[in-house]
Symmetry: C2
Subunit: 162 residues, 2 copies
Amino acid sequence: MSRLDSAIRRLEAQRACLDHAARLIETVPGPVVELGLGNGRSYDHLRTLLPAREIFAFDRQIDAHPDCVPDARHLVLGDFKDTLPTALRRIGAGAALVHADTGTGESQRNAKLAAWLSPRLVAITTAGGVIISDQELVGIKAAPLPLPKGVAAGRYFLYRAG
Amino acid sequence: MSRLDSAIRRLEAQRACLDHAARLIETVPGPVVELGLGNGRSYDHLRTLLPAREIFAFDRQIDAHPDCVPDARHLVLGDFKDTLPTALRRIGAGAALVHADTGTGESQRNAKLAAWLSPRLVAITTAGGVIISDQELVGIKAAPLPLPKGVAAGRYFLYRAG
């Protein structure tokens, strides 16, 4: 499998997870959190899927296409270590959906960040809300959900907050 | 269509064109030219598709994943305006396949570069060789080829050098 094949699979898996989670939260109130705005592609997909939801994006800096940058009230810039502890106050209510796309090419760094993020992602998610993560979360009170069809195990992780 | 949908379509179209072109040049001798190495994804796909071909990559600088950087003999760094006029000497023979992925977000700049590139791409392609371009080429002696199934008109352009 070439890197082009792999990129297509990764984006298709991401889209399948976002589409699936949007259906899962239909009856769950609350805003949406995009952790890692990046180039803004998945943020744009989320706002297309969920036009009636408030969506808050967290990232260290803005690298997104100008069309995909939220307004100042919905954009939280800074290191996650600084912004996540007060995130719940910022977003106003537990999130119905959290999408965390925080992985880099470095697996050790990813594991360390995932361990730090795990309880904090659960803490900002409302009961019954869904977490999508590109890293496996650890030691949390949230039930793993089956992945949508066509998404290989380990490529994404879905959880339902208790 | 979200930017995520659009990115998936673009990469799928790119892969479909590369796969199609690899079949079209089966009996055409010559190396492969990747114009715009970028992140190295399509270069990686080309070397997977065509393991027996020499592949030369041209770009201004290296932004690719370290695994996707050609060796020094097959990597030509610099502005296309400096490197393309002497490209044929560098690659040793007319190319069987040229893949030009040179577009940016700026349509005026793209059109200007495409006009400059058009005769130069044809000049480095052997008779019967195929050119894949993400920009329409203009004023050239090369026949447009039908796009592979599933690729929308205008997303890629295929030509057979005369």
